[in-house]
């Protein structure tokens, strides 16, 4: 036979249906004949309904909030990707590329000036490969960053952004349907 104390301690699991069948039956039996515990049970049940009703809508986010958090997530992930070993290696190579370019320019300077003095009407059309590589740096914004535009349009979020941010958020033409 359960005491009142033992029953009170089991009211929540009783309400949640997590008690073993045997224990559940004993609690039920006690509740049927003890008005005090029954009153406590009714109270707990009301509280449970109240919590089931009030807690799920608590802190429901708005779409602008979700969009703001998403922007923050992207910015941070992007920043960390910039610091990743692969990207650092690319930067390392790019800085070497620039140094090599400078060296080539220095070496070519006397030749070019001589060439110019010899025939000023023949401009230099070709660009060393290193120049093309150097102007490709920094790389395109990550796709992860661009998808904020689709996120915004999907949720109709019209947050204000700087022109630079807007430019970065605009999908590349190739991605447009």
């Amino acid at each position: 036979m359960f005491t009142c104390h033992a029953v009170r301690a089991r009211l929540t699991p009783y309400l949640h249906g997590t008690l073993p069948l045997k224990v559940r039956r004993r609690v039920s039996a006690h509740l049927e004949r003890c008005p005090h515990c029954h009153a406590a049970y009714v109270q707990q049940r009301q509280l449970m309904h109240e919590l089931q009703r009030r807690l799920p809508p608590l802190g429901q986010p708005t779409q602008p909030q979700l969009a703001r958090v998403w922007d923050g997530v992207q910015a941070e992930v992007r920043a960390s990707q910039d610091k990743s070993p692969a990207v650092r290696m690319l930067r390392y190579r790019a800085s070497y590329g620039l140094a090599a370019l400078g060296l080539v320019a220095l070496l070519l300077l006397p030749v070019v000036t001589q060439h110019d003095s010899a025939s000023a009407s023949a401009p230099l059309h070709t660009r060393p490969a290193a120049v093309a590589f150097a102007t490709d740096w920094p790389p395109q914004p990550l796709t992860l960053y661009r998808t904020a535009a689709s996120f915004r349009s999907r949720y109709g979020y019209n947050g204000t952004a700087t022109p630079q941010a807007q430019a970065a958020l605009t999908p590349a033409p190739a991605h447009r349907p």
Partner: protein, 194 residues
């Protein structure tokens, strides 16, 4: 919009492989729930936004560490968020709320018969009562009632045995029952049917 664990697994694999839209899919699927969790624990919008962001950033940076054989992605993500929330309330403890204020806000006022007002008061009362609980009890209650999770899931997210999760929910229940006096509870309850 719940996807199966299999679909989530595919999305995660795509994200790890570098598919950036997969990250967005994961975010869209879990962001609202995660934010709600953070708000329920911190009861502050700005803090909830910050922690939700931190949790996603951590998860996205460490996606390859996620082991689907050990936990559902949601469990993993929520565990990260709970741990971040704990760091935050360790840093600045939320002051205990004034009980008199709780009851003042909760008491449906005879001069304002609008049901909406009463509803709002009832919601405020429960929110404030939640704020008076210790963080561990609040976590248990929010995960159980706010997110309808099982005790097993709650235990995983809180990093405790299942029995502890159960007793925390029970203690939270008892604490709230003492806070929200019977008469008040009766009134709160009657709002539902008015």
């Amino acid at each position: 919009m719940d996807s199966t664990p299999m679909q989530t697994g595919v999305t995660i694999a795509q994200a790890i492989a570098g598919d950036q839209t997969a990250y967005q899919q994961l975010y869209e699927q879990y962001a609202a729930g995660l934010y709600r969790l953070c708000y329920g624990l911190l009861l502050n919008r700005q803090d909830a936004e910050d922690v939700a962001q931190e949790a996603f950033v951590y998860a996205f940076k460490n996606l390859q560490r996620y082991d689907s054989s050990r936990a559902a992605f949601k469990t993993w993500l929520y565990t990260i968020a709970v741990s971040r929330c704990r760091n935050l309330y360790r840093r600045h403890r939320h002051p205990l709320l004034d009980l008199a204020q709780i009851f003042h806000l909760a008491a449906p006022c005879a001069e304002t018969p609008e049901a909406a007002m009463a509803q709002r008061s009832a919601q405020d009362a429960v929110t404030r009562a939640l704020g008076t609980l210790s963080p561990r009890l609040r976590e248990a209650l929010v995960l159980r009632y706010g997110h309808g999770l099982t005790y097993r899931e709650i235990a995983d997210m809180m990093g405790c045995p299942q029995k502890t999760a159960e007793s925390r929910v029970r203690l939270a229940h008892e604490r709230l029952r003492d806070l929200l006096q019977p008469a008040l509870l009766e009134e709160l309850y009657s709002v539902e049917f008015s």
